[in-house]
Amino acid sequence: MKIKTSLNRRNFTRGGLAMAVSGALTSTASGWATQPSRANKFKQAKALHPWLMGYDTASQDSFHAQATIQGAWPKELVGTFYRNGPARHEIGNFRYSHWFDGDGMLQAYRMSDNGVSHSAKFVQTYKYQAEKREGRAMYPGFASVPDNPSPVTSPDSTNVGNISVLHHHGKLLALWEAGSPWEMDEDTLDTKGIFSFAPQTKGVPFSAHPRVEPDGTLWNFGYLSNAKLLVLWHIDAKGKLVKVDKINVDPMGMPHDFIVTSKHLVIMVPPFHYESNSGPTFMDAHSWNPDLPCRVLVVDKNDFQNHFWVELPSQWVFHYGNGWEDEAGIIRFDAARASSPSVMTEVFRKVMQGDIAPSAASAHHQYRIDTKRKTISEAPMFSPTIHSEFPSVDPRISCRRNNLLVMLTRDTEQPALHSNLNEIATFAFDSGRLNTFRYPEHQLPEEHVFVPKPGSKPESEGWIVGTALDWKSQQTLMTVFDVRAVEDGPVATATLPYALPLGLHGKFVHA
């Protein structure tokens, strides 16, 4: 299906209705059999390995509670931490066959003089509402297909809004990988509906990892696998669309995150190539090509059509910490680099039926692009036995030179009871020092973010704020570390009276 570039009445009457629908809605095959035993297998495995409760469906449709504080909560740490993530994994007797298919639940941890309160609600997507109404799974997702699936007529008909959250110019948006943002009410967490930046961008994919510069300028990408199109977004600090454009990318991979510098956007397209109708699900319609290079697109921020490609050895990346560019046109950025997408294609599929596979095998690398010579190189940042993911930086130096990186890690030479990442770490580029705090065995940490101390200089003072699932006490807790001494452990924790499924990405918004 080629994209029509000029639709008109003639196109319509010729049957050329160009439904340039993102590949996210693939799945024509209803033969991807439901595994009636998947839910039972998971239940049995969870009895043996209670930490698997992180992949269970949320125990309630909505949550609200006051947290119990331990330790000394920093008095300047006031605001709201939002987290999104998959939280409904079963509908009727159907359990999704992939973690990423879980319907999104948006959480808010509100920190004030009155302590920490928590609330959470499901993103009321078209899919969530229809399936709730019918009491059964109806639509194919990222890597799961129920029996007799209903047709997916646009990316947003299967958009579960479950990956991340963006707070920009007073708007709170729940983001998915390949569809529109869902606008949420900041106070009630109610879903307002699909959000469009402009009429001509209604329904155009806006991926889950937009980058916001210190002045509020917002950049993002989106992709339409079947149309082999990469969409690039430029939105100003007031939320106004400045420009949006498309670039043909063939073959199309599955870019998940990207890098912004003062002058360029950098998007890796791993050799996980999409071919229409080549698999029963969107994920399965991709093939991993370890002998092919990972292509890297470098785009001029001022003119999206001014771009060039460089190539790296085959590799897979979900997330980048930060990127920046010097006056000589040298770009540097870091990423959690894996040799293949097996964490997605295998680990997060197996875990849904309680099969435990090794944790994410991604190790942090730094990359260097010479924009004048059009070359790229990479080097590991620390021992490959240290696995890493969920990198974040001080938002005040986002897209500019940073020295400090916050991330989750795991020392693979140390045995652990569960297979997830189990440490929170800071890495300083100048000293090469990696400081870590290992969570207790009964706690599964989720993404942590750098929260600046108001009034301080960038990267000088602040906190690392994150959450963890305590599977032993069946409670979720928020942890606060001093960014200068993460190895000392949390300075304060806020414990909820309930457990939540493991989430994905979060965002802190100062009061």
Partner: protein, 143 residues
């Protein structure tokens, strides 16, 4: 801006309904459902051959009617044979089926047999049906 212009009964007057009556007829009953807004026009085209569906020949029937959120029913008398239907909902009444800048329709559409195609319009083989005696097509519009 890429849009699909709809031939909206302009000559016949806005919101006029064009009936096609043919001799030796079988009755085709069409119900349109899942119309989410009572704004603008719903346009329905009936094709008797793949060439018509592809736009190489004019449709045998074309109806434009003001949208309503309750089910819309149409009865058309046509000779026995093979047909296909295409429906568009021009919500904002601008005479066009709006599309976003990458070509995805942003107004509702549908085809007979509720065919949805795969990353593009469905094939004739997916939308065609036999009209032989009174025949019903219940079509749900897609967003």
């Amino acid at each position: 801006m890429m849009k699909i212009r709809i031939a909206l009964g302009i000559a016949a007057g806005i919101y006029a309904m064009a009936w096609i009556q043919l001799a030796s007829a079988e009755t085709l009953n069409i119900t349109l459902a899942n119309i989410t807004e009572a704004n603008g026009l719903v346009m329905l085209e009936v094709f008797a051959a793949e060439e018509e569906f592809k736009g190489e020949q004019p449709a045998v029937a074309s109806i434009s009617q003001r949208a309503q959120t309750t089910a819309m029913n149409f009865s058309i008398n046509l000779p026995k044979g093979e047909y296909g239907i295409r429906v568009m909902h021009d919500v904002n009444g601008n005479g066009e089926l709006d599309a976003n800048f990458v070509g995805m329709p942003t107004e509702p559409w549908a085809f007979s047999n509720n065919a949805t195609g795969n990353f593009g319009p469905p094939k004739w083989s997916e939308v065609r049906f036999e009209l032989d005696g009174a025949t019903n097509q219940h079509i749900n519009l897609n967003k």
